[in-house]
């Protein structure tokens, strides 16, 4: 009898994982509970008036559920700082500001550790600013159109990476200075905490919107929070990616 290609244990693993997936998903299809629509109806009728945001998703994550956003930013901050501390202690990164890697600068034949081609130089150098502007648009118009602080920040980080890839080795803008990015990240978190406390003196509680009863439009709070979160996420992820790419000054 021919020997089977996969061992019995491998097949057992696959069957077990499929059974687990079925056990999780099947009750959703089998249950007769009506789809919950209370929150949806409430948001449809009161969301625009409460928050002033036409994009109800940003009204939820910066208005009704702002606590979750605070947790999300803390998780991202911890992830970025952990990654950067591991990178800088391993000495893998050759980026400016990571002491250990700087000594073995120019030991490789290729510049900054990876081969550069004309395609990378031209395409990323020209595309970077456009991606940056798109990220800023997503950030600033998150209350009107799809997007928001987190999405805009990630796109801004992609733009920073593009510009770091596309620029010549001996030139860099201040956007690629790791010190400036780290300062933006830290200041962003400080401003998030300050903005979350700003509702307390008026009696709206933690993360309460201080503008919700005054004459000003309550949407200003969402715009400010979107901008801060976008800058923070963009700076943090861009910092991490530049440290990984090992950009040499």
């Amino acid at each position: 009898m021919k020997e089977s290609k996969y061992s019995k244990f491998f097949i057992f693993q696959i069957v077990l994982s499929l059974a687990t997936v079925l056990a999780v998903i099947l009750p959703i299809f089998l249950s007769r509970v009506p789809w919950p629509d209370l929150a949806r109806n409430y948001l449809e009728h009161n969301g625009l008036r409460d928050s002033g945001a036409r994009n109800l998703v940003s009204a939820i994550y910066l208005g009704y559920r702002a606590f979750d956003t605070l947790g999300e930013t803390i998780v991202l901050l911890v992830a970025v700082s952990g990654t950067i501390s591991i990178i800088s202690h391993s000495g893998l990164s050759q980026a400016k500001g990571f002491g250990k890697g700087e000594i073995k600068k120019h030991t490789n034949n290729s510049i900054s550790g990876f081969r550069r081609t004309e395609l990378i130089d031209v395409v990323t150098g020209k595309l970077g600013p456009i991606v940056l502007i798109f990220g800023l648009y997503l950030m600033l118009f998150g209350h009107l159109s799809p997007g928001g602080g987190f999405q805009g920040g990630v796109v801004v980080a992609s733009g920073i990476v593009f510009m770091a890839l596309g620029s010549k080795t001996d030139s860099s803008t201040w956007l690629q200075e790791t010190g400036a990015l780290a300062k933006i990240e830290a200041a962003g978190f400080l401003f998030i905490v300050l903005a979350s406390l700003s509702g307390i003196p008026g009696g709206f509680g933690f993360f309460g919107n201080p503008l919700s009863s005054s004459g000003a439009s309550p949407v200003i709070s969402i715009i400010v929070l979107n901008t801060i979160i976008g800058l923070k996420v963009g700076a943090g992820l861009g910092f991490m990616c530049i440290a990984m790419l090992g950009k040499v000054e």
């Binding site: 990876f114 987190f150 999405q151 990630v154 796109v155 992609s158 990476v161 990616c241 990984m244």
Partner: protein, 77 residues
Amino acid sequence: MTIIIMILLIVLSLYTLSSRDLLYGVIALSAFSMLSATLFYIFNAPDVAITEAAVGAGVSTVIFAWAIRSTERKDQE
């Protein structure tokens, strides 16, 4: 349209799992993210689609590529 995208998603994820060259797997994972972003857009969730495209196809691909560059590219048989 939805069915085609879902079948492609399954094919891409199987290819990602089974490819011995990790760089091919990462590129397939990036394509997976783009396709699922399209799926989210079809299902009227543009916010999630933007997040998926930016995080899945953009930043995580850069991070995976960096990890492959600093370790081994080929999987050991």
